[in-house]
Symmetry: C2
Subunit: 670 residues, 2 copies
């Protein structure tokens, strides 16, 4: 425990409070005030509130990638004036401590007013996304045909007879009678929000109306399926009649929303952005950690909804689609993301026996979930298989031959912060997940960044000098290195002999790029004068270790699955690689470092954001919804955390390319 006391002279010099307007939250008890610089945002909070919580309350964005555990140091701010109580500052360097930095998650307010300076985090999560819909990457035979067009909601015209004096029928009675007589639909539910528009809609075009319907299937006691219909919108027939749906992929790192015209299944627009939960932890485990308090659970729910609703706004803008014209949604995400979106406690996902609250999620309505489309619209959540294999995977395999019940055994890998693997054919479907960690997305790497503008994505290393030549996304000056850049770099260093199979840099041969510091070494990719930031871009052996761990986790998961079914990589028909990552990945480099097995190139299929594409298919086609449900039920979930042989596979893969070089030929690299 350490208390930072800023001397009163310093305080006088740096007291900003007289320049900032008093916040009206201030109450009679005179709670201490915290001012965040440079924004000048002010909030009064109770003593003992952590600075991180105070920032959240005030709406000040501070990243806490470790989920507030105090292990990453990323949430540090500099105390400008005032007294705070700092516990476990050990995560910061001596220099940082000397300059007055404290980790906000483990520092709390005392009685005094405080002014802090929040370091510039701009660009940390920046970057541009390509908003193409990725449909071109998927085998056309898997996409819904126009015959399959049976969207989640249907629009139907119906003519309701006019009211008659003394018939004793209300508007609702006349509607349900007409539904029965004209459409043969008996069991009709009309939510209050829809009834509110009924009277005026019926009278606008003499009873000619368009109803938006969803069929809900339930099983009766004699196991017979019963169809009940819920009306989710009513409009006069002379209305616009437009009928949209949205597909949503909620990833740990990124969220994608796609607007679809349900009349012809056309993609209107695709919008992608970072999940604003990123500030609360980079991977699902950090998010679960962060969510241990119910107010933070609510914060995470609000954050992801904010991202989703902003993307809906953007995508709807393309067609001037009104929110009420978006009639349904299909949402896919990993099990943790879905729990957080729905406001469910994710704690039990990570505690043995790893039991989520929901896997096969009932259909909710948009207003329950908080998604800003027609409030009565159904929101279908893709069914999950296990704690770490979610609906993003059951949606994803709709983009692969795995759902075609063929003989050929195929493998599906979704490479993200979490890595999920599915293997199977018509006879079996096996799935598991591993934690690759955020290294492939630039997390946990000191000069790492996401695959955005200025990120190094390809590297050439000179065999003689050891110096690197880099290509960046957008062909601009480099700002950092993304996952594919790291893979390219490692493959090059390995091929040119600058690192060994354990990922250690060559300490013996001299290169300007390698700096030796005792037993540790570091490699300079870009020197300060050539970088966009003015600081050199350096990778140390710890960074290399993180990449090796990530690739080992993924490879070991694949290897273990094959072993379970007594097969070799060579027996695989197709290998599908999903995830935004796949778009930048150099197959040869990935094989060279042992991330992927060395199979003939044509067996690999990069299918982009398969979760989003699969969600779209489920949105527009009853056949694909049925297919997804069926395959979700068929999948056998392997819990790796409880399987001791996984650790063996993982340890064996902690080399470049592998302890068993059988599947990896180094001379394969061009």
């Amino acid at each position: 425990m350490r208390e930072i006391l800023v001397p009163s002279e310093a305080r006088d010099l740096t007291d900003f409070s007289s320049h900032t307007p008093r916040n009206n939250r201030r109450n009679l008890e005179d709670m201490p005030r915290i001012t965040f610089q440079p924004s000048g945002i002010v909030i009064d909070v109770a003593a003992n509130t952590t600075l991180l919580d105070a920032a959240r309350l005030a709406g000040v964005e501070i990243d806490a990638p470790c989920g507030g555990k105090g292990t990453c140091g990323n949430c540090a701010v500099r105390i400008v004036s005032g007294q705070v109580l700092c516990e476990s500052p050990g995560v910061l360097t001596e220099a940082e401590i000397a300059r007055g930095f404290v980790p906000t998650c483990h520092t709390s307010m005392q009685d005094s007013d405080v002014v802090v300076e929040v370091p510039d985090q701009a660009g940390r999560f920046g970057g541009q996304f390509s908003d193409d819909d990725g449909t071109d990457l998927i085998d056309a035979a898997l996409l819904p045909s126009s015959d399959d067009c049976r969207p989640l909601t249907e629009k139907m015209n119906i003519s309701v007879p006019p009211p008659q004096m003394g018939d004793g029928l209300s508007d609702l009675d006349r509607l349900t009678r007409a539904m029965k007589q004209q459409l043969g639909k008996e069991d009709i539910i009309v939510p209050l929000a829809v009834i509110r528009s009924l009277a005026d809609a019926l009278r606008a075009a003499s009873g000619d109306i368009t109803v938006t319907l969803i069929a809900e299937t339930a099983s009766a006691s004699d196991s017979r399926d019963i169809r009940r219909y819920k009306i989710t919108a009513i409009e006069a027939k002379n209305g616009t009649g437009r009928h949209y749906g949205i597909a949503v992929d909620v990833g740990t790192t990124t969220v994608a929303v796609q607007l679809i015209d349900l009349s012809d299944m056309k993609v209107i627009s695709t919008c992608t952005d970072y999940n604003s939960q990123l500030a609360c932890g980079l991977d699902v485990i950090s998010r679960i950690d962060y969510a241990r308090r119910s107010d933070r659970r609510e914060e995470l729910r609000t954050r992801v909804l904010r991202t989703i609703n902003r993307l809906i706004e953007q995508s709807a803008h393309h067609d001037q689609a009104g929110h009420s014209e978006i009639a349904c949604a299909v949402v896919s995400g990993n099990t943790t993301m879905i729990h957080l979106l729905l406001g469910l406690n994710p704690e039990y996902i990570r505690l043995a026996p790893y039991t989520p609250t929901v896997l096969d999620v009932p259909c909710f309505i948009a207003s329950e979930v908080g998604i800003a489309i027609n409030p009565s619209a159904p929101v279908m959540i893709s069914p999950a298989v296990g704690s770490y294999v979610g609906g993003d995977i059951t949606a994803g395999i709709l983009c692969t031959n795995l759902c075609l019940d063929s003989d050929e055994v195929c493998l599906f890998m979704d490479v993200g912060t979490n890595g999920e693997v599915v293997i199977g054919n018509r006879d079996f479907l096996l799935t598991c997940a591993c934690s690759a960690g955020p290294a492939f997305e630039g997390g946990g790497i000191k000069c790492g960044m996401r695959a955005a503008h200025g990120a190094i994505e390809k590297v050439e290393v000179d065999p003689g000098t050891g110096l690197a030549t880099c290509r960046t996304i957008g062909q601009v000056r480099p700002r950092g290195v993304c996952g594919s850049g790291m893979i390219s770099l490692l493959a090059q260093l390995l091929e040119k002999g600058w690192i060994d199979a354990a990922g250690k840099l060559k300490h013996s041969a001299p290169s300007e790029a390698i700096q030796i510091n005792g037993r540790q070494a570091a490699y300079t990719l870009v020197f300060a004068k050539e970088s966009a930031t003015g600081r050199s871009i350096v990778i140390d052996e710890h960074d290399i270790e993180n990449i090796i761990r990530a690739k080992a986790a993924l490879y070991a998961a694949c290897a273990l699955m094959l072993k379970q079914v007594d097969m070799e990589f060579d027996n695989l028909g197709k290998v599908y690689i999903a995830g935004g990552f796949g778009r930048f990945l150099d197959l040869d480099a990935a094989t060279a470092i042992g991330l992927l097995p060395n199979l003939p190139r044509e067996r690999f299929h990069f299918i982009g954001n398969a979760s989003l594409a699969g969600s779209r298919m489920a949105l527009v086609s009853e056949k694909h919804r049925e297919r997804q449900r069926r395959h979700a039920r068929r999948m056998t979930y392997l819990e790796l955390t409880t399987d001791p042989s996984y650790m063996n596979e993982y340890t064996a893969a902690l080399f470049l390319p592998h302890t068993n070089p059988e599947h990896f030929r180094r001379n394969h690299i061009k």
Copy 2:
């Protein structure tokens, strides 16, 4: 059209704006500001906003009993400073206009800031309610027995097996399996709000939980009834286990809420208050008028919810019942009140062919409706029969022999602002409604007031001097006269010969109490020195006319119903009189003026707030819910507005006691 220009000197003298804090709604366009005195409440509104709308926005209570049509003048305020545009000020007296009064509903803001003075309206809707539950008034044979105890929601204990590693089951899967295996319930719906509490509830007592359930019945295509169950709450079995429900009567004038312990059907508390919609119109027609704009519809919805939720708070306080422990609600009200509560457009109720949006209302959940109990709790609305015969009547007849399928023909009258009448036996049930107007509740009578503290409820008139001796509620100095006081007064004046059968005061005989003014006369009930207000309490011939119209409307409705079934009043077995009014009514006086037929006293049964009592029965007993549904369907609704013979009956009843004196003997009065 008339513009009030306050001279700049006056304005300077009365400009309050410099003393009041500027409201932060003020924007760059510099909208004009209105200050309401004496509260000092300030709001900036767009030019052309009516002062009434400005008051609503600012939360300033101004009564507009005519619904803003500009016909009553009750919404008048005095302009202290500033320019306003006043249209049709004709409703105010010359003296009021001279003093600067304007009707707020027909006066709009211009460019200048305005200060207005709102006259003191305290006590106008004041008064105390007796909060007894009225159960003693109802025949015990009609009340649910302990065998009938089947509340709208049930609580059941269930033991959910613990999660097993690798069983592939979510918490929700385990719950639905246990529901099926242990309770035989198959088709289970669990709303998201309930799922949110599932994980923790399952783990708090090793899977022993208590679920609150509602059975929903739907009909399948083969006309077989299907039961589906919705879980509305889940708690660990070691929770309080308390299970409450509320019965709600939403009247045009008053709202009553009763808290019931569903485990033993005991009434915990009954709370009553005025419907805060009163400020927007005294009767249903004024409310429908007021609701013609959607923002005002929303205002009316919010107002009645505010009243209901405040009463829930009060009644829950008696047992320290938490909102989440209140598991269900039954709400009864006339068709217009239910439309306004649900946010439905009531316009078509009063336009031919008088078709409401809903009659038999589906079961909604509390959060949809806005009632502050467990958000997932079912809210059952009593089924209505027609535009002006609502669920209050189908609930009310549960308190009468009409629902016992007996031979005896009985009559049920609900005397309120609307009067509803039901007649029938096992063979037929006929119902109709008439607009008695607010006269019985003190509305439309210059010195009228509700049956509250200080209201004259009984009058004796001296045959010689014509002077009145009055008894008030609470035995305090009189403030005004309520409905029962008016009936008592009229009966006395008629008996003692001071008015004739047409309700005209005796112009010939001299009495200090009678003032003749041309062709009109007025009667002083209480002289200024004896009244609580310092002003004399005077009834003029116009007031008498209003009472005669009200009693004629009710009597004519009864008479027409009897004629329809070819019966006489003498054939009636029992006459039930419901409504708070019944508690104060002098039967002899009511018969003397021709409000009620002169039948043997024992045939009359005052049953108090039958709508509330019936709602309670429906809340606790499946048998009574079924009975209510069945009788609602059996009732034949007679639309009086379209029946020419009603006008004949009504005209015949516009005399004291009636043009046909057969059923009224004047010597009956003691």
